[in-house]
């Protein structure tokens, strides 16, 4: 039997504050599709454009995944742009003198090293992450200029020249089977939610997410098979998103990361080693910056000292768009990636419409503040109305209890 409570919880999962980011993306795509066709310009939703869009998102996507993890634990990192630049340049310099394996390892090593410095200073010395990572941002930028002697580093290795632009195709049956599996999982969860005596909003969220991804996969696998082929960079982002998202949602590690950000003292008294859970995300974040540097080097076959400067800003913007809290304790990997997708959709759409690129920044800024407003106002309203309701209910129950006694 379907209870009204369940339906209310289900409807709650579709509220602007929870699902708004998805509505925003869909709305944006529809608007660009209408505008491009109205002006007789190349359509927005072509296979080529979408593939390009994903490819454009991949780098910020990888960065925003680990940035979200870091934000969830209540910290953040301004130095990822500089770290990615230094890692990319290091990869090319090392690869040019030895081989590409060492190049790749060097990039990740640079990331891990910087992450350790950030994390250890923030957690063990107790300096605010803003100050520490602003410092490393500046210092790492300096190292980058020194290492490259202020010049562009070119890739001499074939691997780096072709790695980023290669395409990989997901076999059609795999896409279809995965899609069906996700849909089945979402049905199973929905069934379970309604069978339970009490509804848990998290499970509804998972059910809806897997339903959407299942549908998309099934659609791509059957109708839009052109989208089965994506660049290496896009696949890296997708794989990373799947793994990181699963860790955050389905493992004890993820739960503890949320707890550490939500209330460090409560987490500590619950037996969580918060030093580890505060420092590790810094390392992961900078290591991902190293990966992003590699991706950049592999895509363009070259790294200039300024190529990834300020990259942390759109990444933070994407995380905020996705509803990640800057104070820790809440945020979702998938939503942050959609945030990054929205930002690159804006860029891509403006390019298609031949609009002045400078307007992009104005629109982007407005979008970020608008999103943050929706989250904040929604949160406040929900709290107030819910608390009133609970007070009234609790009072009724208490009085009932006292009377019975």
């Amino acid at each position: 039997m379907i209870r009204t409570n369940d339906l209310r919880a289900f409807a709650g999962a579709f509220r602007l504050q929870r699902a708004g980011i998805i509505y925003a993306l869909i709305l944006l795509i529809i608007v660009f599709q209408i505008l491009t066709s109205a002006y007789g310009l190349p359509a927005f939703t072509t296979v080529a454009n979408l593939r390009n869009l994903f490819d454009q998102t991949a780098l910020d996507g990888v960065l925003v995944i680990s940035m979200t993890t870091l934000l969830i634990t209540g910290n953040f990192d301004l130095s990822i742009g500089a770290t990615a630049g230094l890692a990319g340049a290091t990869a090319l310099i090392v690869a040019n003198t030895t081989n590409q394996i060492f190049g790749g390892l060097a990039a990740l090593g640079v990331g891990i090293g910087i992450g350790l410095i950030n994390g250890l200073i923030v957690q063990l010395v107790g300096i605010n992450a803003f100050i520490v990572t602003l410092g490393t941002l500046t210092a790492v930028q300096g190292f980058l200029l020194i290492a490259t002697s202020d010049k562009t580093v070119l890739a001499r290795h074939a691997a780096f020249q072709s790695f980023g632009i290669q395409n990989w195709t997901l076999p059609q049956p795999v896409a279809i089977i995965l899609g069906i599996a996700l849909l089945a999982y979402s049905m199973y969860l929905t069934f379970k939610v309604f069978k339970q005596t009490s509804v848990v909003i998290e499970q509804i969220g998972i059910a809806i997410t897997s339903f959407i991804f299942g549908l998309i996969l099934l659609a791509i696998g059957t109708a839009f098979t052109g989208l089965l082929t994506e660049t290496t960079e896009t696949w890296i982002m997708i794989a990373y998103m799947a793994v990181a998202g699963a860790i955050m949602r389905y493992t004890v590690i993820g739960r503890r990361l949320y707890a550490t950000g939500g209330n460090p003292e409560a987490a500590r008294l619950s037996g969580i080693n918060i030093n580890v859970y505060k420092i590790a995300p810094f390392v992961v974040c900078s290591m991902s910056a190293g990966l992003a540097g590699l991706m950049y080097a592999g895509k363009f076959g070259a790294v200039t000292p300024t190529s990834l400067v300020n990259e942390e800003l759109p990444v933070l913007a994407a995380a905020i768009l996705g509803g990640t809290s800057l104070f820790g304790g809440s945020g979702y990997i998938v939503k942050s990636v959609i945030g990054a997708l929205i930002l690159s959709t804006l860029v891509d759409g403006f390019n298609l419409l031949n609009l002045n690129a400078n307007y992009q920044y104005v629109i982007q800024g407005a979008v970020i503040i608008g999103a943050a407003t929706i989250y904040t106002v929604g949160m406040y309203r929900r709290r107030v109305s819910k608390r009133k309701l609970h007070e009234a209910e609790a009072k009724a129950v208490t009085l009932e209890n006292i009377r019975q006694r």
Partner: protein, 487 residues
Amino acid sequence: MVYPNGTVALSRVNLSVESGSVHGLVGANGAGKSTLLKIISGAISPTEGRILWQGKHVSWNGPGDAISAGISCVYQHTPLVPTMSVIDNIFLSHRNNFFWAPDSQLKAFEELCELTGYWIDPWAYINELDLGERQMVAIFQAMSTRPKLLILDEATASLSIKERSLIHRTIRNVVSSGGTAVLFVSHLLDEVKDISDSITVLRDGQVVLSGSNSEIDETKLIAAIVGEQPNVNLVGNLFTSNSNQSQEVALEVKNLRSPNNVDNVSLTIHQGEIVGLAGLLGSGRSEILHAIFGSDRQAHGIASVYGRRVHRTPRSMIRAGVVLIPEDRNKAGLISTWEIWRNISLGFISEYARFGLFLDSDTEIRLAQEKIAQLAIKAQSVDTHVDELSGGNAQKVLIAKWLDDKARVLLMDEPTIGVDIGTKKEIQRLIRRLASRGKAILLVDSELDELLKLADRILVVRHGRIVAERISAQTSVEELVSLASGL
């Protein structure tokens, strides 16, 4: 008073507070005390009725009006600026001087000290102070405007006996020194009886009893609060002596020391035993718990659980079955943005997970449902966020988190702080039940009479040291107070 959503919080309530007197206001949670205070202090306006202030008809357009008319409030947790000094906090709201006037402020501060008989370092930062000291600062802050009406809303809930009697003395001083009226709200009935000239009882938004203190005895008071003839359990001694106590030592601590006010503490707790730590505020009671649990990293000493030595870190302690239920449930206990079920499962999360790694939310939710039923937590569902719960229910969630067979030794710091009388009795019964099931419990409670009823054995703490040990049945509150204060 009718809320926009239709909730009738107060109906036809008459309350008059005379200057130069203390008026006690009591009632169960949800009886309408807070709403009444909000109306008096101008935070909300009544939908019907009037306020007469010094004989004149007034209507406040916000708390600012009430404050300038001479009404000051002190709450259980008054917001102070943690990064500012005591004196800056006290005079934070004074706007009559554009420039900071340290000399006149210091003079005013000294007058306040004189008035209350309480001395505190005016240059100490708030974040260096403990709960009781902060509360004194809040009271100083309220008194600094020399109000005509001082409202104390559960202001003594987190205080120890000594601090509480200090506040009582302060109240008497400000009342007798001329004119000031005090509206005193508290869950602690003996305190209200002690201090008030007259008492009003609210229940279900209505005044059910009002009169001079001398005419109201304790039985009548409880009857008025609860609504019918009081259950014997609520008045009489709740608990019989514990017979389930075994001789097996559950927790043994040796030579525990910490720079945070723990000085060479050794103690043992047996299986099924409740040991109370009695001491004044700042005596090091809570600090001993944190030193045992290892959440105080600077502490040294040896701890063993059921004969096996355990590394003193929260992680190893929890694994060995020792858990700590902290005093400040919002700051150190619960994750306020989480639902009940995730808060409850966090304690033993890896035990509930498959292979210790993959979350099993079905199990977590089922456990939470069981515990909600077991502890009668009043919430819509397991999905309710803990910041939407009342104090008593939030406290129950905090306890529920550690109700597991794996937890064998419970270190409880003020488990009944800031909860209504009904919930308090429930929690006390629960603690008893836990002990009878073989849990060893080390309990800190500022209310010594409650501690005496609950504990089998009392250790008296002073200056971080255990100065005396008494069997509960063979001691009294008076003896404990004199031991704790070193008389």
